[in-house]
Amino acid sequence: MAMLKTILGNLLRPPRTRDPADMPEVPPVYRGALAHDAARCTACGTCAFVCAPKAITFTQEPGVSVSWHFFIGQCSFCGLCAQNCPTRAISLQADAPGATNSAAGDGLRLESVIRLQPCTRCGAAHVPLPDATIEALWGVEEAERGYCPECRRRAASEKLRAAFVPAEEAHHDR
């Protein structure tokens, strides 16, 4: 009898079915497709390291660029990469990836190219760090912005040395 009441009640109400074009919103915390911001990526490789199904890989073209590759067909949408990314370059979009007619190879693969930049001091190609990272790690000296890691280390050690050793002695040493 309770069943009869339920189903007759359904008959009186409009159907709860949504049209295929008008499907329910994805919840804001939904872990959907990955988005990669090449400007913030430092190519540190943490995401590729923590990815359990190995959906993220890096390739490099020496002296020109580093590429971040992501294969949706291998992702389990766990979100570890976004959680561990030190510069928040990876984010999980709230929209679900759609169905594709293409083969597993294309359409399901994402590539993001990080262009290398020449060092402003020695000219060596390197992955540029985002400004916020440089500020946090190396201070805010404008001249050192475009340094490669090697030159940055050298500049930092020179600064360190300058802090301990008086200027004339240093000059003398050299």
């Binding site: 295929p20 329910p24 199904p53 992702c75 389990s76 679900a96 594709t100």
Partner: protein, 159 residues
Amino acid sequence: MNLIERVIAISRRRSPWICRLNAGSCNGCDIEITPLLSPRYDAEQLGVELHGTPKHADIVLISGTLTLRSREAILDIYAQVPNPKAVVALGSCPASGNVFAGSPLVLSESLDSVVPVDVWVPGCPPRPQAILDGIARAAKLLEDGATKSQLESRRGRLS
């Protein structure tokens, strides 16, 4: 194309019967098929019917990692589906093996190397609306005669 052929082509889009094939899935994708039949998503509004036997199906939904033992079963069941047919791969596992790739018991390759796949639905698991969208795409391919098995048979007839 005469009228009857046209009507049959439209009917293929309007009445896609699906058959579920679990190739070694964690059941996540299979569970997401259940809401398709529920009041909110109601696949029947597109004419979809879930059938247990491949003989009645037009579209095979394959979910799960391809294991060494499921390969034969997939081939067997795919061969039982009467032409014209379409294959929809659900989730990440058929595309690559997902987290199971590299296991000695798992075929670490795409489902495409076993049976011709027409539509890939990404997600782990895909949302019900994505599965519905995948079925609708496959049904459209059936209408256009553009599924891989249809193209293959047409090529066979020509040569």
